[in-house]
Symmetry: C5
Subunit: 355 residues, 5 copies
Amino acid sequence: MSKKIKLKKSKKAGLAPGTLFFVGEKKVNNTSISLINYNSEKFSTNNLDFNYFEQVSSTTSGVNWLNINGLHNIDDIKKICRKFDIHNLVMEDIVNTTHRPKIDFLDDSIFLIAKMYSFNQDKRIIQSEQVSFILKNNFVITFQEEPGDVFKPTRDRIKSDNSRVRALAADYLLYSLLDNLVDSYYQLLEDLDDSIDSFEQNIIKDSNSISLSDFFTLKKSLLFLRKSVWPLRDISSQLARSEHNQIKTTTLPYMKDLYDHVIQVVDSVEAFRDLANGITEMYLSITNNRMNEIMKVLTVCTSIFIPLTFIVGVYGMNFEFMPELKWKGSYFFLWGLMIFITISLIVFFKKKKWL
Amino acid sequence: MSKKIKLKKSKKAGLAPGTLFFVGEKKVNNTSISLINYNSEKFSTNNLDFNYFEQVSSTTSGVNWLNINGLHNIDDIKKICRKFDIHNLVMEDIVNTTHRPKIDFLDDSIFLIAKMYSFNQDKRIIQSEQVSFILKNNFVITFQEEPGDVFKPTRDRIKSDNSRVRALAADYLLYSLLDNLVDSYYQLLEDLDDSIDSFEQNIIKDSNSISLSDFFTLKKSLLFLRKSVWPLRDISSQLARSEHNQIKTTTLPYMKDLYDHVIQVVDSVEAFRDLANGITEMYLSITNNRMNEIMKVLTVCTSIFIPLTFIVGVYGMNFEFMPELKWKGSYFFLWGLMIFITISLIVFFKKKKWL
Amino acid sequence: MSKKIKLKKSKKAGLAPGTLFFVGEKKVNNTSISLINYNSEKFSTNNLDFNYFEQVSSTTSGVNWLNINGLHNIDDIKKICRKFDIHNLVMEDIVNTTHRPKIDFLDDSIFLIAKMYSFNQDKRIIQSEQVSFILKNNFVITFQEEPGDVFKPTRDRIKSDNSRVRALAADYLLYSLLDNLVDSYYQLLEDLDDSIDSFEQNIIKDSNSISLSDFFTLKKSLLFLRKSVWPLRDISSQLARSEHNQIKTTTLPYMKDLYDHVIQVVDSVEAFRDLANGITEMYLSITNNRMNEIMKVLTVCTSIFIPLTFIVGVYGMNFEFMPELKWKGSYFFLWGLMIFITISLIVFFKKKKWL
Amino acid sequence: MSKKIKLKKSKKAGLAPGTLFFVGEKKVNNTSISLINYNSEKFSTNNLDFNYFEQVSSTTSGVNWLNINGLHNIDDIKKICRKFDIHNLVMEDIVNTTHRPKIDFLDDSIFLIAKMYSFNQDKRIIQSEQVSFILKNNFVITFQEEPGDVFKPTRDRIKSDNSRVRALAADYLLYSLLDNLVDSYYQLLEDLDDSIDSFEQNIIKDSNSISLSDFFTLKKSLLFLRKSVWPLRDISSQLARSEHNQIKTTTLPYMKDLYDHVIQVVDSVEAFRDLANGITEMYLSITNNRMNEIMKVLTVCTSIFIPLTFIVGVYGMNFEFMPELKWKGSYFFLWGLMIFITISLIVFFKKKKWL
Amino acid sequence: MSKKIKLKKSKKAGLAPGTLFFVGEKKVNNTSISLINYNSEKFSTNNLDFNYFEQVSSTTSGVNWLNINGLHNIDDIKKICRKFDIHNLVMEDIVNTTHRPKIDFLDDSIFLIAKMYSFNQDKRIIQSEQVSFILKNNFVITFQEEPGDVFKPTRDRIKSDNSRVRALAADYLLYSLLDNLVDSYYQLLEDLDDSIDSFEQNIIKDSNSISLSDFFTLKKSLLFLRKSVWPLRDISSQLARSEHNQIKTTTLPYMKDLYDHVIQVVDSVEAFRDLANGITEMYLSITNNRMNEIMKVLTVCTSIFIPLTFIVGVYGMNFEFMPELKWKGSYFFLWGLMIFITISLIVFFKKKKWL
């Protein structure tokens, strides 16, 4: 996991600002483009290749959703950005997949970077992917690192004739896509919740079987999740209060709703961090407790047998003159003494609640 | 408990925003509706079923309190909401019982979500239930998950002819219901206080008998209680400073009073969290102390008998030439030596304060 | 102590807001009232009973300080409040002795709730009492739970002919009383400081003699003291910046001075909390250290004698063929060997700094 | 140290506000006064006694620095304050040497309280002294508890003919004195830094030789230093942004510079607190580690010899029928067995990395 | 490292404000100066010595970057500053290499102090160097303590004919240099990340091999890095929102980009601090765990053999009347008994999960 969440920017350090350079792991081989065009009456889906891409006109009527998968081919990204008059610094941010989530209200468009997370149950790691959104007039352009199905619900709804997304404009489409993204966070939070629950159960049952390094990885995940979710709070808040020309007033209640959801995610992440700290504390307490228990057994055992062993050692001595050795019954008397000592000690330990 | 406070939203993830879908556990079988209509002179209570519900008119004179129990039947909720012209997103929030507490000042109404908590002493869990309030002209509409008696005091007061609630308008009714809700938090805080007290007593008396996982559950409860109470602070503060047309100026002092009470709850929750942390620390200190005590007994016991056992071991050896064995009195001299060693060690340990 | 600082409000939960109900412990049997009337030339003190109380006129000239001791007799309180036209919600706050400190700037008066604390050295608990102040024209009305001598300095100064309080108006009287109250906090802080100091000394001298539960009580006291002092900060700040008609501009510098004192109390409480945490840490460190020392003694003792005991055990065996047993001098050689082993181990432990 | 930083105000509690009373330890016997008068051309220094003090006129031309050492003689302080028309509450704050640092912008003057700290390397304590400054027209009046040399640099510069202080007005003199004061904090911080460094070195070398109570005193010092430095931040910030008639616009950049220095001191204090916490943690880790090491030696030693001791115990039994005792070579075989067991255990412990 | 990050200011304490004095270690022997002059068509690089420096005119056309390496020669710095009319306090800040990062918007120029950090992998220390920037009309003047290659990317881009830096004005040059500086932080963060990773790996593999003092040094580095990066946040934010005459509106998006990068650095530093704390916790947990394991082995070993040793001790006694000694088979019965005890104990420990 540590590989995934590491800072990758240095590869780029030293390049002129505005020089395009793909930063991140190459996740897919080819840039693939799909265009969904719709209005309230009809919709069409096209998987484009770059030869046909030229035909896309930035003035097509209806709402257009242009989705780009794969960011490593800088030339392709450049072509797309130029077609839509996208500023160089924006282009640079799109291909730098380690960018912090942010929103830029540009003169004629809105640019937004967010992170998609998924919890890989097998490897127990959180995988992150960067998505960039551009809202410009009747176009929403999304840039993903690899094809994913987070946006499937919106895609399905576009196909449905009387859905609200079909009836409304591109800003609602942006909202709908962001809502899908935040919904995917809930899935992640549930997975994390299950993980925390199972750690908790394991600690209570038997603290030995839990893997401390797994738990540390979980805490690290929460740390990095938090780092991505916090900026989203600002982003959605700005969208909800926005007076930008690209966002219609009628869409603002939806953006406010989005903001509510993000706040809920932020709250949950913070609560999970507190929970994880609580589990650490509980783990230390339980370990301490167990050590206490072990110490008691050791102490009781040692304290009872060491005096007895001394006593029998005494009568194992080979002195020629030891009167007790000759006395009949002294052996049995000694047993009596030892039993008495044992019982006394057991009573003492009972009183101390060590037994 | 963890089941109760888990995030449940994913069930809904992927639905179009505005699509109604009940999120939560189905707690009652039927939606039941009651309408209390009153003015300063008379009042009437009606338990409606949906056939008669059509007769409720949103223009009835006097103050009307419409209480809905049970949110799983989406169609019923839809019918009610449409009758009162409630926005789709509000409807969605009402039936999503995992929503964060919030207030929305809409154009012609006020919408408010809060949580009701009760501490189940048997299972030692906090049970939460969501309540939504809509204040619209002379109507207050409340949506509960299951029938509860938190609002009983207000109901009783409405029945009393010269109560203030009878004399005032719907915004005072809203205040009165919220005040009942906050009062129920005090009950919960007292139960938590008793729990913390009993943990504290148990730790001081005997740290072994406390259940660490119970204590962890308590801390988790405080965590989630806090998550619900904090937003209430903002909500009541906004109500107290509100200039919304639905709230009369004469009601503002009452809302300010409500705000004072919420602040007091928030303070108490924070104080309880500090207390719980203090108990954790004390628990660790006491465990440490106890381990120290055990170690001392072990050490004293071992340190006294191990040298003695060595000495008697020496004279248990079978060498043919050991002059001491032949000396008369050497046995008694040895006893003297061993008693001297024992006393010296005891003095040494006394000086070290280990005895 | 826990009994004293517990939340008591639930007793009241369910009453109509504005219904008077005494919340708290009944501390005195009768409500007693005293009225001090003064101007720059003369002063008079009267202990009133309720029969004569009717004669008090809210329009008496000069400055009037009406002090009420005992809040459990609701009727008496009602009578007083009605005479001075005090709002129902204010009355409710006066008799609810668990209220959070607060200030209300009403149209024609200022209402203020604060806590008085005293440290009971015998029981080592902090006792709290609620005081309410009403400043209305030339009247200052104070409500105490039981007669106390915190305000004695002001009382004495009123008796002194050329004191400033005699020369100035009712707002200065309010300031003077609040100043007495804050001064009483300093006394409490000093007592706490002594307690912390003695804990610190005890820990350094001998950590066994300190009572962890006493220390925990101290931390709890700080926690609740803080809960009461923080609101006072806002209160005094609002008084210092107030433009309310009841506060003259010439009194503002004194209110500013009061604010400075409150800030100093707040700072001290925070510093004491940090100190208390530091002591907890030091306690853990010292306990750890002591355990280390014990372990060393145990380990050194065991590590030296266990090998020796083994050796003498070897020659205590009864094998018929053990050549060494027959050799003359082997006994003394063995002693030499054992002394050598002992010295080697001692050197080893010295090098490890365990001795 | 605890004696020095204790709250002393209670001695005064109960006095009328504005009653002068010296609070603090009497540090010098006599109040001594010195007056430095200068302008760009000349300067004169006078040590005044109170007989001649009458001759000082508050209207002398040039810049005047009046320095008072010793605050216990209330009458002297009163005389001075009256001559310069200083408000009673200010006078009260000057002689209360436990006052929190603060700034008051009065109508015709600026009043400022700060703390001077010095680290006494011998006693390892921080000694604090209060300094008050009054800037009124062409006078700067400073009140110190005892004569000190913190202001020596300014004094020297005044003696130098072409220094900036000589060329500028009284507000620059105030700045220059405050700058000296902040410079003295740097000296203190360096001493603390050395202390922290030496604690760190000692812990790494050998944790036993450090004195926990000394370390606790260091942390306490940081706590109280912080309490004094934080208000200075506000004070210098207010000076830098001041539009008060006593501060010329040309002096503001210098005040801004002062603010920068104070911020740097605040940052350092915070960083030192973090460092001190880090050292506490490291100390606990190292102690833990050492205990681990001790435990390993104990365990290895015990685990090897206890089985061997058992074995030789077996053949020390006196049963009449023990066939092995008669076998020739069984003694040597037993030695072989014991060596084998020892080696096995050593290999086992090596694998566990305990050796 | 501690030497490097120590406060050095005291050396200067006592000098008149505005007196130039080099504070810091002398890192290079001579002050070297280089001037790069360029416009969109051509560029020239000159390494100046002070004889030729007189020829530099502050009115040269094109963009000029004057870089000074070495600050210890106060006279040289003075000469440069006077040529460009730089205020005395600014000059003082430039040569005080322990100054906190800050920005000053002066009337005709912008003055900025920042820190450059590099992680020395050999000595595992962070080395810091102060850089000051002055932007004044078409001049950017940089003051470094020693020659470094952090600005190489900008230098290279200036050499490239169609680079953006060549086309734009001096404010873009300032941005470009600051961007290089922030890029160098990323390099440092990666090195720290690697360090943290390797600590983490070592702890999981074998906690004994990690050096606690190295880890403490790492935490200290983060502490001081944070101290330098936090002010940069304000600085870049002020640049991005600046309306100063030296910054063109077209450069603001680049400054905003710079701000984004600084925020990302700040976030990472905070995350690393959390990570480091997490590692400390994990280390303590693992150490605790290991101690537990050791204790178990000790306890199991002792608890099994101590009773057996007692038993064989019993039959090593030399009493004349011990019937069992005479019985045939009692030796073998005893072995059976001992084997039974051993197995019972092993089962007991298995059940307790200690084996």
